[in-house]
């Protein structure tokens, strides 16, 4: 986008970016875990996006562009806070859950709205990079390529982390389904 008249820039930004507030807030909330932190993150994201709005190509995916900024701001804030969760040991990201107990041919229960709190809880328990992959691909429905750019990873890394994230979520949710009787507990051989 070429340099814009200030009024037109603000009008375009209001019409293009601000309607995505709810999507950004939900991603921020699930990244930070706290409403106040999520609001701060969204506010800072919009400010940075506004300052660099000339870099955005109208007609391309504005949500992907904003999520790129949001994740970058989030990572930088976390680095400044020296939060340990960002630098998990690689084996934590690469390992898969033990599925020995997850076998069986039982039909999986429908994950309807009643499961929302449990799915949210399982998401919170994921290592942050795994959670970010789920947030951008499964919840915000970004294509792999755009999610990879937003997270600053190669597409192969995104694919691999997404797979591990889904496997872990499955293990957690299946465990919950068994504990609450939605699935029968596996019968152990005598």
């Amino acid at each position: 986008m070429t340099a814009l008249d200030p009024e037109r820039k603000r009008a375009l930004f209001d019409a293009t970016a601000l309607p995505l507030t709810t999507a950004l807030y939900n991603t921020a909330l699930r990244l930070t875990g706290a409403s106040a932190d999520a609001s701060d993150l969204v506010q800072e994201t919009f400010l940075r996006a506004y300052r660099t709005f000339e870099n955005f190509s109208l007609g391309t995916n504005c949500k992907a562009w904003l999520l790129t900024i949001l994740y970058s701001v989030h990572i930088n804030q976390r680095k400044r806070a020296r939060h340990a969760a960002i630098s998990l040991p690689p084996e934590e990201l690469e390992s898969l859950p033990d599925e020995n107990a997850a076998g069986g041919d039982q039909r999986l229960p429908e994950l309807d709205e009643r499961w929302g709190p449990e799915v949210d809880r399982a998401l919170r328990d994921l290592a942050e990079p795994l959670r970010a992959a789920i947030l951008l691909v499964d919840i915000e429905q970004l294509p792999y390529e755009e999610a990879a750019v937003a997270l600053g990873w190669p597409v192969g890394t995104l694919r691999s982390r997404l797979f591990r994230a889904r496997k872990r979520l499955f293990a957690t949710l299946e465990g919950y389904a068994r504990a609450t009787g939605y699935l029968r507990k596996p019968v152990r051989p005598e």
């Binding site: 200030p6 293009t16 792999y144």
Partner: protein
């Protein structure tokens, strides 16, 4: 058919629609024969479905004002003198909308165009506020489904035409359930769309009939508003706005699909 089990990530590629047609056919054949891999696919889809259905949390009510404040501050920083025009144009729009509210809200029983026009006039007031704000069309479609609307909605993207989605509301139009969603244009003008089960036959005489790309459109004018109706399957869609009539028709033509 592949002899070995595919990697889990390849099954994920299948679930996400990322395989080439040839590879997809190979994997489909394998899945039909291999309960273990079919089970893996079922699990991945189960998790995808569960996360895609997560409820959206509403942002704190003060967040839009906070964002507007930092953007205003940034504008002032960039330019100390703000042109007066920026304030006059929205003010004129507000006055026109207020006049339409007075005229439309005080009328008696309504036909469909009058009811839609009244919704437009009261949109943004306490009488007709949005249930949820989002610029994400698919998320709003999921929202309508979660709220139990019995028909399929299609919240179309008008970003390329200068209109951003603002949010949605499960509404009642003349006592029937309707999906209402709103857009804001670059010039701060509003566009409202409603979808509800019905037929064009229910519309009163007097509207202008047009046909475009095999779709029948009925156009009505009400107190400076333009309303364009068309059918998508068994669902009536209507776009309404106070922008120029040609623009509303053009937007409807661009987004209507034959079902």
């Amino acid at each position: 058919m592949m002899a070995q089990h595919p990697l889990g990530e390849e099954i994920q590629d299948f679930a996400d629609g990322r395989l080439t047609p040839v590879r997809r056919v190979d994997l489909e054949a394998h899945l039909a024969m291999c309960p273990q891999c079919a089970r893996e696919l079922e699990r991945l889809r189960w998790v995808k479905e569960g996360t895609a259905r997560l409820p959206m949390h509403e942002p704190p009510p003060d967040l839009p004002a906070r964002v507007a404040l930092v953007l205003d501050t940034e504008d002032r920083r960039a330019s100390h003198a703000r042109p007066l025009r920026r304030y006059l144009l929205p003010a004129a729009g507000v006055l026109a909308a207020a006049a339409a509210v007075v005229i439309l809200v005080t009328r008696g029983p309504r036909d469909l165009p009058s009811a839609v026009a009244r919704d437009f006039a009261t949109y943004g007031t306490a009488a007709l506020s949005l249930d949820t704000t989002s610029g994400d069309g698919p998320a709003l479609e999921r929202y309508f489904a979660r709220r139990g609307l019995a028909f399929r909605t299609r919240v179309f993207d008008l970003g390329m035409m200068g209109y951003g989605l603002v949010g949605a509301r499960v509404h009642r139009l003349n006592s029937r359930p309707s999906a209402l969603f709103a857009y804001r244009g670059v010039d701060e003008r509003t566009l409202v769309c409603e979808m509800f089960e019905g037929a064009l036959d229910e519309l009163p005489r007097g509207g202008e009939a047009r046909e475009h790309d095999g779709i029948e459109f009925r156009i009505f004018k009400e107190h400076g508003l333009t309303l364009v109706f068309w059918m998508e399957g068994s669902v009536v869609c209507v776009l309404v706005s106070d922008v120029s009539g040609d623009d509303v028709v053009r937007l409807a033509y661009a987004k209507a699909v034959k079902v």
